[in-house]
């Protein structure tokens, strides 16, 4: 049964490449990218309880590592991903250090400062040779391997899907083990966690590093899909949008990350359809409505739905 389900899921995931075309496939690819970015945020905020309003910064740095390696050093696109991940992991570890002393709103502000600083740093004169300053960097998209009968959009989707699936699997395995209980303990009661012998400092900094690695690779993939990076692409609102996606999607859940990405990607366009003059207001109303209807996010709503069905039909449980 579970093998059949796995095959079903795989078919469902691969199908868009052959069913959707052009713009829709592009949006689905971006959905996978944002889901991965939100998954990264979830590891540190949802699971470990350390609020970050600055994950857009890791996304931006991942994107720029890929763009710079490709444009200035002629690296092949695939080789830039591990570097982007490693750079972001190191940076995430460093940001995790203040997290050892700061809690709640204070930590949130430090990460917000990071998100505000990164676009300015990317514009800096000293780095312009590599970053292209405010003008950014134009990339050429990955070339489709000659043997594959795929369009550029199809190949890009399948490549992003493969990387995202790999990282989702890694997150799944990680969250099954002991470390998840340690992370949750830190979130729910840091003092008790420490008393129980959990190395709080080590877990927090590692959670930040892994989280930044995920979001950084998402940024790197995002750069390949959009084929352009500029400071304007990674303003503070990106970090806020990722946070909104996490809350709406629901913390501590892999499908929740996908649902959250859907909110980030589609609700701004939906708001625009409703009102062109005040899309921000419509967005706000939809956000409040989503939180009201699904107080623990899409993932929580799904869990409750499944639970109530099981109660209704106990024999199938």
């Amino acid at each position: 049964m579970s093998r059949l389900a796995a095959v079903g899921v795989a078919v469902l995931l691969i199908a868009p490449a052959f069913v959707l075309s052009g713009y829709h496939l592009f949006q689905t690819t971006m959905l996978a990218v944002y889901a991965l970015a939100i998954l990264g945020l979830d590891l540190v905020t949802g699971t470990t309880g350390q609020v970050s309003l600055g994950h857009g910064a890791f996304y931006a740095i991942g994107a720029y590592v890929t763009a710079i390696l490709m444009a200035s050093f002629n690296w092949p696109y695939w080789a830039t991903l591990p570097v982007a991940g490693a750079v972001c992991a190191a940076l995430g570890f460093a940001i995790g250090l203040p997290a050892l002393r700061l809690r709640g709103p204070y930590l949130a502000l430090v990460t917000l400062a990071l998100a505000a600083a990164v676009p300015q740093i990317l514009r800096a004169k000293a780095l312009e040779t590599w970053t292209g300053g405010a003008q950014g960097i134009v990339l050429s998209g990955p070339e489709v391997p000659a043997l594959l009968p795929l369009s550029a959009d199809q190949f890009l989707y399948l490549f992003v899907l493969a990387i995202a699936a790999l990282l989702f699997l890694a997150a799944h395995l990680l969250l099954r083990g002991r470390i998840r209980r340690a992370m949750a303990a830190i979130r729910d009661h840091p003092l008790a966690a420490e008393a129980a012998g959990i190395d709080v400092a080590a877990i927090k900094t590692r959670a930040f590093a892994i989280s930044a690695l995920f979001t950084g690779i998402a940024g790197s993939l995002g750069a390949l899909v959009v084929q352009f990076v500029a400071p304007d692409s990674f303003e503070v609102m990106l970090s806020i949008a990722l946070f909104v996606g996490l809350v709406v999607g629901g913390t501590g859940s892999l499908p929740g990350a996908v649902a959250g990405a859907g909110f980030v990607l589609f609700v701004p366009n939906l708001s625009e359809l409703v009102s062109k003059s005040a899309p921000g207001v419509v967005y706000g109303v939809l956000l409040v409505a989503a939180l009201f209807v699904m107080p623990s996010g899409a993932a929580g709503a799904l869990r409750r739905l499944v639970a109530s069905r099981r109660r209704a039909r106990p024999d199938t449980a």
Binding site: Q135, G136, E235
Partner: protein
Amino acid sequence: MLTRRTLLQGTAAASLVPAGRALAADMPGVTASEIRIGNTNPHSGPASAWGVIATAEAAYFQMINDQGGINGRKIAFQSLDDGYSPPRTVAQTRKLVEEDEVSFMFNGLGTACQTAVRQYLNAKKVPQLFVATGADKFGDPQHFPWTMGWNPSYRTEAAIYGKYLVQEKPNAKVGVLYQNDDFGKDYLLGLKDGMGEHYASMVVKEVSYESTDPTIDSQAISLQSAGVDAVVTAALPKIAAQMIRKIADLNWHPLHIMSNVSVSVAAVLIPAGPEKAIGMLTAAYQKDNSDPRWVNDPGMEEWRGFMKKYLPSADLADANFGYGFATAGTMAHVLRQCGDDLSRANVMKQAASISGLQAPTFLPGVLIATSPSNFHPIRAMQMQKWDGAAWQLFGPVITA
């Protein structure tokens, strides 16, 4: 008469396919009664003050449609929000081109946003017309034959200052203060364009500043001590105000030309001290609605009539409405010139052959003109001088 189009339409009707789809192979985004035009603008987010440009353009096309459209076709203008974020510009542009099947993109806003879609639109051979940015790179027909700018670029403006100096002050010792980035460097290039071989002999000193520098006092002093008697300042408002004040404090009286982005009365001249800037020069291309000389001007009356009818609650002091009126007017002119051939190739061809269009809101003699090798539609401006209370136009229109 049996033309290729009527044939196509006949086939379309016979096979019960909407006419628009059948025509798409020939002229995407065009039907017998409509032409679809796409646009991206920041309707939300930090740059949303510019969103009204699309509002003005939509109103202009509404006016055209009320008058019966162009060649019997109504204009279906669709502007989508990109929040000034390049990834969203890519998504929205792809939506407009691939899903809504617009004929072409018009006046998309923002240097970074439009750079993000330039490669895509050129690869698909979809015209990216009259983009709303001052970056010089959007007029590069050799490398991007489907992309055309509109705004006079910084380089064009500086070339006009260069020509003015060569003509009016051939013996001047020119000094340049410029911001050390793309904006400032476009100015240096433009001055070289305008001054030609005189640049080497006339420009005695170039000094730069970083956008993060707190002051430019030492730069001003070094220009003065080099014997400069004509200063060109390519600076953003904060540094521009400092430069005006420092020149006055040094009791130095050079001819001072200020970049057009930093001539706002509220943001530059009042902070610097309006009396300290008396005699300062800059260039302009549009009529200023607050200038009393245009009170009875027919062109401005036309614009005010349009605003009253189609955007009655809009603020006439917002220059973006005049801007949108002129860009949409340029677009309508190109579509009229296309006649019945609204293929993308012909739209681009006609956009590249505008011969001397006088927009109602432009200064007399500032003409919009393009050619297959000139993708910078506005290359002429007129000099104006600050008299302590207002900008006064003078002299002829200068073409870069």
